[in-house]
């Protein structure tokens, strides 16, 4: 018998507390104008956390602050115990390796095939050889139902397929946290349901944490452990809890209308 084992390494997690993301007194906006003020919430390890809100309520902007693309006006966002807005150099790189992001538009590199797109983070951040990288990438593409499309360019795929390829790329490094911006928008119900199952499977088997911006009620009911709902007028969180709890007990009229698919009074 031959035993093969990597050298002992410390866990990649720096902080073992329950919260993997801690947002404290966060105010964010642009050009000195606050879009959302004094946000306080936490995302727990292994949970699927969903951000909801009306159009223009700042969901995607909040997501972009959480992944360190924008600096907040005040407050902090701790990812695994480290402030992503203030982390620099190697600390920032280490933090970025812990997260994967699938953008709303997919943001695949148009000049690269799907396989090359998924291989790119593996090439930059791991010592895997080419054949191993390609195998990992092909397996990620299989997970999102894109086997057989490895050598196509993004432009040769439908919008939904591009979105799934973006999720495969975001998962390439098996990050601790996966941020998904409107992952099932534009997908057919079956593919959207498959994607929900994938999220649940990854969350349960790998303990991966998901932060998802979505409007799909069916998805929210299937995947969400907890939900926060943002509101443009009050510039903050108007509801927080499980989908079932919000559907049954939410006091805010917008939240009730959202979960019951009701039109606004004016309409």
């Amino acid at each position: 018998m031959t035993e093969v084992a990597p050298d002992k390494q410390t866990s990649s997690s720096g902080d073992t507390s329950r919260a993997i993301i801690q947002v404290s007194d966060l105010t964010l906006g642009f050009d000195g104008i606050a879009l959302l003020e004094n946000l306080n919430f936490q995302v727990n390890r292994g949970e699927v956390f969903v951000i909801l809100g009306g159009s223009g309520s700042g969901k995607s902007t909040l997501l972009k602050h959480m992944i360190g693309l924008y600096a907040p006006m005040s407050g902090q966002i701790l990812i695994d115990g480290q402030d992503i807005a203030r982390a620099e150099g190697e600390a920032r790189m280490a933090l970025l390796r812990k997260i994967g992001v699938a953008f709303q538009s997919g943001a695949l590199f148009g000049s690269m095939t799907l396989l090359e797109n998924v291989c790119l983070p593996l090439e930059s951040h791991t010592a895997l050889n080419r054949s191993a990288r390609e195998l990992v990438a092909r397996m990620k593409l299989r997970l999102v139902g894109l086997s057989g499309f490895e050598h196509l360019l993004p432009a040769e795929l439908s919008g939904g397929m591009q979105k799934r390829a973006a999720i495969a790329r975001a998962m390439a490094l098996d990050p601790m946290i996966l941020f998904l911006d409107e992952p099932s928008a534009g997908l057919d119900p079956i593919t959207a349901a498959d994607l929900d199952q994938l999220i649940l499977r990854l969350a349960s088997s790998l303990g991966m944490t998901f932060v998802v911006v979505t409007h799909e009620l069916a998805s929210i009911d299937t995947i969400a452990d907890r939900v926060i709902m943002l509101d443009r007028q009050s510039r903050g969180i108007i509801a927080e809890g499980t989908p079932a709890m919000l559907r049954a007990h939410a006091e805010h009229p917008w939240v009730r209308r959202f979960f019951n698919r009701q039109a606004t009074e004016a309409a």
């Binding site: 035993e3 990597p6 195998l135 360019l153 490094l173 499977r201």
Partner: protein
Amino acid sequence: MLRLAGRLDVHTVSSVWGEALAGLKGRAGRPVRVDTSGVDYCDGAGVALVVDLLRQPREPGAEVGLGDTPEEVRRMLAPFDVRDFSSEAEPPRRGPGLKQHLANGLYDLGRYLYLQVAFVGEATAAMFHAARHPRQVRWRDALNLAQEAGANALPIVMLIAFLMGVILAFQSAVAMRQFGAEIFVANLVALSLLRELAPLMTAILLAGRSGAAFAAEIGTMKVNEEINALTTMGLDPVRFLVVTRVLAAVAVMPLLTLVANLVGLVGGAVVMKGFDIPFVTYFNQVTNAVTLTDLLGGLFKATVFGLLVAGVGCLRGLETRSGAAAVGISTTRAVVSAIILIVVADGVFAVVFYHLDI
């Protein structure tokens, strides 16, 4: 038995991947069980290692199979059928043969020529339509484009023209001084600038600034499906986008060339002052050397160059395929094509002007 143990994640698994494959090769001809019971943690890359071991081609009776496998690893392996990842399952990546290459090349060339001719036809028709229905032209857009291509280009055009006048005058004055013919430097500078260099340099600057911008802007619109949106709204992209740009370029090119002429002559005058030739003498010599025909001929050439630069910039933009790289390619092609067309057209003008005795 091949036993995998410890933490198999995307960062650690590379250190044992080769060793595990070597362990398998060392057992050629014998069946091998991959035991993962000692694995503490396994992510997608760890599972990929297991799949890689399972997919290795083996002789009959010496297959690789799963041994003791924890439930977590088994669950992660469940979505994958190892046969899908065997090297035989990989699609062949053979390129087309020589015949196919030639056929593709000929087809591409034919299609390219067809598109160029079609664009020239469409653009000409759109320009005639604009002349017949001037109220349908988007004059505000055309004016903004003219400001960008014209007024905003003035500083760089003036700088280049001034330096061109200085260099021309200086290089020729040094030689002519030996014959006491410095005064004829004014003739050389004036004729070269008005007939040839000012229109040429201004057109090349327009190609670099505005031709590239036209291609990039229209190319990005193509990538973002804005061109498709125009078409489905019943708006002709050529009429909507090309006419305004061509009008703007055609309008500003003679004006920019006129400024380049003046500033270039001033550059020459400054150098000649250094050779003890007063401004008045220099400008008298210039006015005697050139005719109105020289000036108008140069301005006409400039107008045609403007038409070519804007036309080819828009054409390259409309030809853009998909992706960010395609926009870069279109921009480069716009500038290169414009410069080639300018030089070719300049050659044609030289022959035509010679035969017309202009």
